[in-house]
Amino acid sequence: MSEATTNIATERHNPELTIGISAEYLAGKRFDYQEDINASADVDLMESTPGQDINWLEDIELLQEDGVPAVFDRYSNSFIKIYFEIPKGQENEVARKVLLKHLQSGNSYGIKLKEAHAKFPQPELGPWVKNSRIVGTDWKPSVLPGWESPQGH
C-alpha cells in the first residue's frame, strides 16, 4: 500500500486525526489530475466561466493545506491537494485548472450529493459543463429506515 493510500485510509477511520477535510478524503481516493499536470492541461478557463474574463476564478489562488500545495473547492468545503511540481509563475493558473477539472469531472463531493438531495431542477455538473444532465426534478424527502416520529408529533 502506498504512503498516500495509507494516509487517506488512516484519516477515514480516525477522523479526529485531521483538522481539514481534503477532496481525496471525501472521495476515498486520489485523482489523476492531482498527480499529473497534463491531466488538467486541456481545461479552457475562459470557455468554462461566464463573461469576458475568467470571472469567479479570479479569486482562486494556489494555497497550502497540511503543508501541501492545494486549491480550495468551495462546492464541497474541501481542499484539493496538488502533488506534482508546479512551474514557477503558473501557480494560480494550475490551481484553477485543477479545480475546474475536479468540478467538470463530477468528482466534487457537493456534486455527488445533488442526485439525492437537489430540491429543484438544476444541472448536475453546474455551470462549468454544457448540456449537463438535469437533477432535482423529482425530489422526495429522504426517510431513515425504521424511523418513526416521536409521540405527540
Binding site: 481539514g20 461566464p50 463573461g51 480550495f72 455551470p127
Partner: protein, 263 residues
C-alpha cells in the same frame, strides 16, 4: 385582473412562507433557444418557476422577462450559464444565490440583490439598495447608478463595481474580492475587513477600523482597465486604493477550520 405588483397582491400559505400555487405557468413565447414572457400577472413563485422551467427543462439560453414589477426574490437560484434580461426593476433579494447566468436588469434593484452570488455577471442600469452583493463569493456585479449602505457586507469574492456613490459601512467585514466605487463612499468604509481591495474614485467620509490606504500596482491598473473595457464604462477615474491593515484580524491568525469559512 390587477397587475400582481405589491405585497398586497400576493397570497401566501397559512404560515406566510410560500405562495401555494406551484404550477409552472408555461406562458412564454419560445423561439429556438430564446424565450420571452410577461410577468405582470404572475406571482414571484410563478415567475421563478417559469424561468427554471425554460432554462433547465426547455433548453432555453436567453430569456427576457417583461414587467417584473419590482417583485421580490426574482431570478434566484439560477445555477447554469444563460442570459436573462429583466425589462424593469426588481424588489428585494433579486438574483440571489446564482451561479453562472449573465443577467441584465434594465431598472433598479432593492435590498440585498445578488446575495451569495457564486459566479456570472449582473448589470443593473439603475440604483441598488442596501446590502447589495452581501456575502457574494464570485462573479461581476455592475451597478450603473448608486448603492445603499453596507454594500458587499461579508463579501468573500467577486467584483462589485458602481459608477455612483455608496452608503455607510460599505465593505463591512469584507473577506475577499474587490469593490470599485467611482463616486463617494460613506462613513466606515471597509470596517473590520479581513482582506480584499476597495477602490474609490470620489471622497471617503471616513475609513472603518483596520481599513488603510494601499499601494497601487500594475495589477490594479490592469484589473480596472479590463473591467471598464468589458462593460463599456468609458474612461475610469483616478482611484484611491484601500486594503486591510491586518491589525485586527487576518487569515494568518485563523484556525484552519475558520479559514475555510472565508474562502
Amino acid at each position: 385582473m390587477d397587475a400582481l405588483t405589491g405585497e398586497s397582491q400576493i397570497v401566501y400559505d397559512a404560515r406566510g412562507l410560500v405562495e401555494p400555487n406551484a404550477e409552472v405557468p408555461k406562458v412564454s413565447s419560445i423561439d429556438g433557444t430564446k424565450a420571452e414572457f410577461d410577468a405582470n400577472d404572475l406571482t414571484t413563485r410563478q415567475i421563478n418557476l417559469e424561468l427554471r422551467w425554460l432554462i433547465n427543462e426547455q433548453g432555453i439560453t436567453d430569456v427576457t422577462v417583461k414587467n417584473p414589477g419590482a417583485k421580490h426574490s426574482l431570478g434566484v437560484g439560477i445555477l447554469t450559464r444563460c442570459k436573462i434580461t429583466f425589462e424593469g426593476s426588481l424588489g428585494y433579494f433579486g438574483c440571489g444565490v446564482i451561479d453562472g447566468p449573465e443577467v441584465h436588469i434594465k431598472g433598479r434593484v432593492g435590498w440585498s440583490s445578488c446575495e451569495n452570488m457564486m459566479s456570472g455577471t449582473v448589470v443593473v442600469e439603475g440604483n441598488a439598495g442596501s446590502l447589495t452583493g452581501a456575502a457574494m463569493r464570485g462573479g461581476d456585479l455592475i451597478i450603473k447608478g448608486r448603492l445603499g449602505a453596507r454594500t458587499g457586507i461579508d463579501q468573500k469574492g467577486g467584483t462589485i463595481l458602481t459608477m455612483g456613490s455608496v452608503g455607510a459601512n460599505t465593505g463591512f467585514m469584507m473577506q475577499r474580492g474587490r469593490q470599485v466605487i467611482c463616486g463617494d463612499a460613506g462613513h466606515g468604509l471597509g470596517d473590520s475587513m479581513y482582506d480584499g481591495i476597495i477602490y474609490v474614485g470620489g471622497k471617503v467620509r471616513s475609513l472603518g477600523i483596520d481599513c488603510v490606504p494601499g499601494e497601487w500596482t500594475d495589477a490594479d491598473t490592469e484589473f480596472i482597465d479590463r473591467k471598464f473595457r468589458i462593460y463599456e464604462l468609458g474612461t475610469p477615474p483616478a482611484f484611491q486604493k484601500f486594503v486591510c491593515g491586518k491589525k485586527l484580524y487576518n487569515y494568518d491568525s485563523l484556525e484552519a477550520s475558520e479559514r475555510k469559512l472565508v474562502l
